[in-house]
Symmetry: D2
Subunit: 334 residues, 4 copies
Amino acid sequence: MLNTLIVGASGYAGVELATFLNRHPHMNITALAVSAQSPDAGKRLSDLHPQLKGILDLPLEPLSDVSVWADKVDVVFLATAHEVSHDLAPQFLAAGCVVFDLSGAFRVNDGDFYTRYYGFTHQHAAWLEKAVYGLAEWQHDAIKEAQLIAVPGCYPTASQLALKPLIEAGLLNDAQWPVINATSGVSGAGRKASLNNSFCEVSLQPYGIFNHRHHPEIVAHLGVPVIFTPHLGNFPRGILATITCRLQPGVSREDIAEAFHNAYQDKPLVRIYEQGVPALKSVVGLPFCDIGFAVQDEHLIVVAAEDNLLKGAASQAVQCLNIRFGFPETQSLI
Amino acid sequence: MLNTLIVGASGYAGVELATFLNRHPHMNITALAVSAQSPDAGKRLSDLHPQLKGILDLPLEPLSDVSVWADKVDVVFLATAHEVSHDLAPQFLAAGCVVFDLSGAFRVNDGDFYTRYYGFTHQHAAWLEKAVYGLAEWQHDAIKEAQLIAVPGCYPTASQLALKPLIEAGLLNDAQWPVINATSGVSGAGRKASLNNSFCEVSLQPYGIFNHRHHPEIVAHLGVPVIFTPHLGNFPRGILATITCRLQPGVSREDIAEAFHNAYQDKPLVRIYEQGVPALKSVVGLPFCDIGFAVQDEHLIVVAAEDNLLKGAASQAVQCLNIRFGFPETQSLI
Amino acid sequence: MLNTLIVGASGYAGVELATFLNRHPHMNITALAVSAQSPDAGKRLSDLHPQLKGILDLPLEPLSDVSVWADKVDVVFLATAHEVSHDLAPQFLAAGCVVFDLSGAFRVNDGDFYTRYYGFTHQHAAWLEKAVYGLAEWQHDAIKEAQLIAVPGCYPTASQLALKPLIEAGLLNDAQWPVINATSGVSGAGRKASLNNSFCEVSLQPYGIFNHRHHPEIVAHLGVPVIFTPHLGNFPRGILATITCRLQPGVSREDIAEAFHNAYQDKPLVRIYEQGVPALKSVVGLPFCDIGFAVQDEHLIVVAAEDNLLKGAASQAVQCLNIRFGFPETQSLI
Amino acid sequence: MLNTLIVGASGYAGVELATFLNRHPHMNITALAVSAQSPDAGKRLSDLHPQLKGILDLPLEPLSDVSVWADKVDVVFLATAHEVSHDLAPQFLAAGCVVFDLSGAFRVNDGDFYTRYYGFTHQHAAWLEKAVYGLAEWQHDAIKEAQLIAVPGCYPTASQLALKPLIEAGLLNDAQWPVINATSGVSGAGRKASLNNSFCEVSLQPYGIFNHRHHPEIVAHLGVPVIFTPHLGNFPRGILATITCRLQPGVSREDIAEAFHNAYQDKPLVRIYEQGVPALKSVVGLPFCDIGFAVQDEHLIVVAAEDNLLKGAASQAVQCLNIRFGFPETQSLI
C-alpha cells in the first residue's frame, strides 16, 4: 500500500482524484489537504461535495507545514494553482515523495515559457528538467522512472492525442497549420465564485483567442505550430476538439487509420472510431479519449473528446500513477 | 412623454425594465443608474448585456446625489436591494416622483415584518402605509392613485394569482393549509458572483424551507396560512408553482373554473387554461402568468407559471406603470 | 459465477444494468437481448451507447425463443415494457431462473390493479402472489427467498423510502394526506423518439396529475393515501421528491431523526442528512437515495433524491440480486 | 395592409414567422397552414405552442387546394420541406403572390445542385433563375424587385455575413481555405419526434462532416471554397460560427475592421464588435447577426453568432419582406 496526500482536494479535479484513489486497492489516502487560507479548510470533503457522503468523509487539512505530511506519504497529488505547485512540489520531492502535479508549473522544460505565459520566474530549473510530461500514451517509459510527473492540461491532452500519431507518421502538410477548435465544459474554469461562470452568464463563446496558455503547451510538445481556439460551452464537463488539417498529397483514409492504430492499438484509454466521430456524452464521466476522423481529398477532420476533469486531469494522473508503480494501467479507472 | 430613471439597471430585472421602457411610446429613459460603489458604474448597459448593443447603449450613471435626478424625472424604477430601496424611495417621493419599487422594502404595511424577516428597522412608516402593493390584477384602482407602488416578489405573484380567486370565492377548506411547491430559475438569485449560482453547482434542490422571506409576504396578502417550499431549478428563468389544496365539500371543477373566470376574464396578462396545466416554457420571455388546475374529489392541484423576471418583476412593474398612467395595460409588454 | 441474461438491454435502465453486471465479480453476462421486433436487434450495445465501446461490446440478441436462453442462465433481468414482462417472466420462472423484473407487471398483488391502471388482465395470479416487491431496504428477508423480484418504480422508491419510517413509527397525522411533489429527469420516459421528449419541447411541467400509475403503487405499499404530483424536469437523470406532511401533535425533530435512524442505520444505500436536504446532483450517477428533512410546528418537509435509473431502477435491481444471493449489498454499485 | 399566408406554421421557424407577422402593422395573417397530411392540421397554433395562447389562436388549415388561398393573399411564406416548397412556390407565384421561401428549393440557380445535394430533379428552372437569394444585407436592390425570395439557410447566413466583406475586399489568402466550425441549437433539426433530437441523446458533436447541404450553398454564393464542419450543440436555439482564415500578407486589423464597417455601417441587423467576439446568448431571441474578430500575424479568427430560427430563418424572411415592400428594415423585428 502506498500512502498518498492530495493537495487541492476540494476542487473539481481534486474530488475526482480522491474518488479514484479511494477505491484504488494499492493506495491509502493519508490525508486530503487544501491551502491554509482556504475557506474549505477543516470541512469534510463530503460537506462540499455531498455525492461523497458515506464514501469519503475525510476532513480537508490546512496545509501549512509540508514536512508534517512529506514524511508520512509516498505519493503526492497536487491539484493546485500553478504558483502553489511551483512552490510545493520541490519540497515534497526533496523528501523523496513521488509527485503528480496537475498544474502547469512543470509541463514545459523552458524557464522563459513561465515568464512569458504564466507571469512568474521559474525557480526550479533542475526539477523542470527532470519532470516528465505525463501524456500517458506517449511517455510510458519515462513515467516509469520519474519522480515528478507533470500531468498535461485538458486541451493539450485531447489535441496531442489526436495530432501526434499523424505528425509522427509524417501525414500532415506543413504548408498549413492544424486548426484546433475546442469547446470545454464550465468545470474547466475551476470551483470558484465568478460572474463569468455563473449559471445565467454561461453561453457558448470563444475565449482566450490567440493567447490561451494551453496553446504554447501544445506547440512545445507537438513540435509544430497550430491555431488553437478554445470555447466555453454550456455544459459542466467534457471537451470536444474538432481539428482541421491538410494532408500530404496522396495520403489516404487507410494511412490515417493505420497511424492511429499503430499509436493506440495497445492503449486501453484511447478509443479510435472505425467510422463516425465521437460525441461529448460518450466520454463524460469516463477516463477515455475518443478519436474519430473524416477525410475528403487533402482535407482531414479529426475529432477528439474527453472528460476535461478525467483524461484531461484526474484520471490521467492516476493512469500515470498506475504506470509509474506497475499497476494495471486502467486500475480503478474503468 | 414621461421621463424616467431606472436604478439598479445592470441587474437581471433592471435590464428587462430598461428593455420594456426603451420601446414604450410614452416613456423616455432619462438615465440608467447603479449605486455609486458598483463596479458597473460608468459602463454602458450594452457592455454588460451585449444583447442590447445598438438597442440601448446608455451608460450606467453612479447614483450619488438623488436630487440631481429627482428633479429631472417623473417616474423612478428601483430594481435595488431592500435596504437601498428603503433609503432611496422616500427621497424620490419627496421630490414628487412616482416610484415603482421592485424590492421588498414597502410590500407589507407592518414595521415588525421588516425587523423580523429583513433584519432592519423600517424608518418610513408613513410611506409604508401609503404604498400600494402592485399585484396588478387585484389592485387596479389603488394603483391608479398611488405614488409608491411596491411590486410583489416573484413567488408571491404566482402564488397569489393562483390562490386569491379561490380564497375570495370561499372554495378552500381551511382545515388544511395550501401547500405551495415552487421552482425558480437561477436568475432569481440576482446577477452576482457566487459559488451557489455557479454553473457546475446549480442543481434542483429546495432551499429556504420554512424561512424564505416570500412566505410571510404571501401570508400577509392572502390572509391565510400556507406552506411554501421554494426550489432552485437548473434553468435561467421562470417559476413554476404547484399548489395542492383541499376544497370545501361539494366544490366542483366548474366552481373553480368560474372563480378563475370571474377574477381574470378581463385581465389580459393572466391566462387561465381550460384544460391541462402550463409548462414553464409557455411563459419564459413573456409577461403572462399562466394558470391551470386539476380536481379529484376534495383535492385540487393548481399550477401557475410565470417568468420570474417579468410577471415576477419587470413586466409587472411596467404593467403597474401602464395602469397608473392610463396607458393600455399591455403597452410594450406583448 | 451466475450466468445472466438482460432483456431490454438497449434502454436507459438496461444499459445501466449491463454496466453494473459487467463489473460484478460473481456475474457472467451470457447475453443481452431485445425484443425480436426491435430495430436495435443485432446491433452491439456499444453502437447505441458509445460510452461502452471497449467495455461492453456484446450484440443485442433478438429474443424470439425464450427456452434457448432460459436453459443457459441462472438469473434474468427484465428491463422491458409491462406487457412484455408479464408474458416473459413466467416462462423464465418455469425454467427455474431467478427473475428481477424492472417493469410494473408484478409489483402489486392484486389483479384488479392491472385491469384498472395498466389496461390489461393479469394472467399470472400465482406469480403475482409469489412476487416479492424489491424495495431493498424493507424487504431484505423476503428477497433472500424470492424467485421473482418486482423492482419498484422510480417515484415509488423515493416516496416510500422517505415516508415508510414515519408511518411505521406512527408520526404522521392521518387527518391530512402527505403531499408528494416529485420531479424526474427525461430518461424516465424511456429511450424512444417522441415529440414530448425532444430537446426543444422539454420544460419543467407537471404531468399525470391524479392519474399516474405510480400513485396506486405507492398507496398500495405504504398503506396510506397520498397526493402525488409528478413533474418532468429539464435534466436527463434523477428524481427529487419534496414531501409535505402533517405530524401528530408533539412529534419533535428528534423523533423524526430517530425514526430514520432506526430504519436506515445499517442500510448502506440510504443516506440520511443530519441537517439540510439533498440536491439532485448529490445522487446522479450513484446508487443512493438521500433523505433530509425540516420541521416547523406540526409541519414536516421531507426531501428524497435518487437517480431514477439507478436506485429507481437498475442499481436497486442489482442491490436485490446482491441480497438474494448473499453478496455484499453494495457489490459493484459504489 | 397585405394579406399573408404562412405555410408550415407549426414548425419552429413557422411559429416565429407567425409571431413577427402578427405584430407587423402592415400585414394581416389571412391564414396559417400545414400540409393536409399533418397531424397538426385543424389544431390551433396556440395548442401546439402555448406561449402564443391569447396572442395568436388561429387554426392550422390543411393546405389541399392552393388556389383557395392564392387568390386571397398577397404574400406567402413557405416554412416547408424542400420538396414541398419546390412544388408549392410556382403555384402561388403563378397566381401573382410574392413568395418568401425558407427552404433550400430555390437558393442556388443550378439544377444540378438539386440533383446532387437534395436528391430530386428540379422542375422549375425558370423560377430558379428568377429567384433572389435573400441574404438581406447583400441583396437589397434585387430583393426590392423580386417575386420569389429564397431565404438563406441558417449556417450560410452566419458564414457569408462573416466572410463576404473580407472576400470582396480581397483580404483573404486563397492559398488556404477558410475553416468554418459552427455549432447549432437543436431546433435546427426541426420540430419532430426523433431519437437523435431526444433530450437524453443530444450532446455536443459534429455531424454531416464534408457532406452537409449548406456547404455547397455557402460555396456557391461566396464563390470560394471553404471547409465547413457543423456541430449539434446542447441548447435549443442559436448558431455560433468560428471561422479561421489566412490573410493576405500585410493585412492589418484595421483593414479588416474597415471591410466590416464598409459592408455593414448602414445595416441595422448586423452588429460588428469593435473588440471581443460575440457569445451565443447575445443573439438568442433577437434578429441580429453579431460579428467579432481577432488577428495575429496572418491568422484571422472571425466569430459570427445569430439565432438560427431568426436571422437564420424567420426574421431574415421578414427583413426581406420589409425591404421588398419598402417598410423600415427592422419593422416588427426589434
